[in-house]
């Protein structure tokens, strides 16, 4: 059954997972320790799995014959609807882990709620993702505390990452007609509902890490409407290169 709103919603969540997965995969071979390198790749693969399911589902609901590959490799920058947070560059390890934590703390609140969605496909995907997110947030939170409460240098880097990324976190809780109307039907989770639980996860971790929550920072938004930072273009150029150069190529 074609349903443009559900398709758009699944695509938003799928784009978040896809772009963050790609960002994490950029660490492969560059991790600070061999074990951490593998851990980052594991998280990237979890997110890639979520992205594949979500984009496939979006394609089904869209009903225009686009599969996960067509959506991942065949859309232009303006058609991507991910949060600006997930497209931000890796920076140093502290910035990467801070981005991951701010996202994980949201994902771990989103998925359990979405597993009660009246859209069975979304509910199934959410149930699987909830288990992955529970592990991810434990790991990224541990790193935030470790670095914030670590050496002078690690603390400075963690605080710089937080200051840089905080304005992008506010966008997580913005909603337009897609979320608003689907939430009313019991299909989507209203993003505004997640703000308080998200803060309840983030604040104690920042406190344990000795990090100061940035005050008075504005909210950067636009990602959901296809307005992105310059970083996404560079990411897509690399991510989509093969399929752009050799359309339909398989191996």
């Amino acid at each position: 059954m074609a349903d443009a709103l559900t398709a758009a919603y699944a695509m938003r969540l799928g784009d978040d997972a896809l772009i963050l997965s790609h960002r994490l995969s950029e660490w492969v071979g560059h991790g600070p320790e061999l074990e951490e390198d593998i851990a980052l790749a594991n998280t990237a693969l979890d997110l890639l799995g979520q992205a594949r399911l979500l984009l496939s589902h979006a394609g089904d609901r869209e009903g225009a014959g686009r599969d996960e590959d067509a959506l991942a490799y065949g859309r232009d920058l303006l058609d991507f609807s991910n949060l600006l947070l997930v497209e931000q560059p890796n920076g140093d390890f502290a910035q990467t882990m801070m981005r991951q934590f701010l996202f994980d703390a949201y994902a771990v609140e989103l998925w359990p709620r979405l597993s009660a969605s009246r859209d069975e496909g979304l509910a199934g995907i959410a149930g699987k993702a909830a288990k992955e997110a529970a592990y991810h947030v434990e790991q990224s939170a541990a790193w935030v505390v470790r670095m914030g409460d670590g050496t002078k240098e690690s603390h400075a880097r963690a605080q710089a990452g937080l200051d840089m990324l905080w304005p992008y976190a506010g966008q997580i809780f913005e909603a337009d007609e897609v979320e608003a109307s689907l939430a009313k039907k019991g299909i989507a989770v209203a993003p505004s509902e997640l703000r308080a639980p998200w803060l309840a996860r983030v604040d104690p971790v920042l406190e344990a890490a000795g990090l100061a929550r940035p005050e008075g920072a504005g909210v950067r938004s636009g990602g959901r409407r296809g307005r992105h930072s310059e970083h996404l273009g560079h990411l897509l150029a690399e991510f989509q290169f093969m399929q752009r150069a050799y359309p339909g190529a398989e191996w």
Binding site: E33, L34, N42, Q139, A142
Partner: protein, 103 residues
């Protein structure tokens, strides 16, 4: 804290941990490798990421490698040679039932 203190702190290597995985309930934990981590919690998480990627485990132990007190390879003859001639200690005089899988 001086710059050299900071550098020493930042560049200090993480200690080594030995990793033991129990593949299935009923089996014992088996040594499967080692890894570096800052503390036991991190070692446990990294063991999960490095050694259970293909669903190998139901339980993980990590032990700081420097807490293992090991025999000296040079003592091999003294320790183990005397057991070689005592075949009556081996379970070789009766047949194992087929249902006993992990002997």
């Amino acid at each position: 804290m001086s710059d050299s203190d900071t550098r020493a702190e930042n560049e200090r290597d993480w200690p080594l941990f030995e990793v033991f995985i129990r593949a299935r309930t009923g089996l014992h934990h088996r040594h499967c490798g080692s890894l570096h981590a800052a503390d036991p919690e991190m070692a446990l998480a990294r063991a999960r990421d490095v050694y259970t990627r293909r669903g190998e485990g139901t339980s993980i132990w990590v032990v700081a490698s420097d807490r293992i007190y090991a025999s000296d390879p040079a003592d091999k003859d003294m320790l183990f040679e005397p057991a070689m001639s005592k075949i009556y200690r081996h379970p070789s005089f009766y047949d194992l039932p087929d249902d006993v899988e992990n002997m």
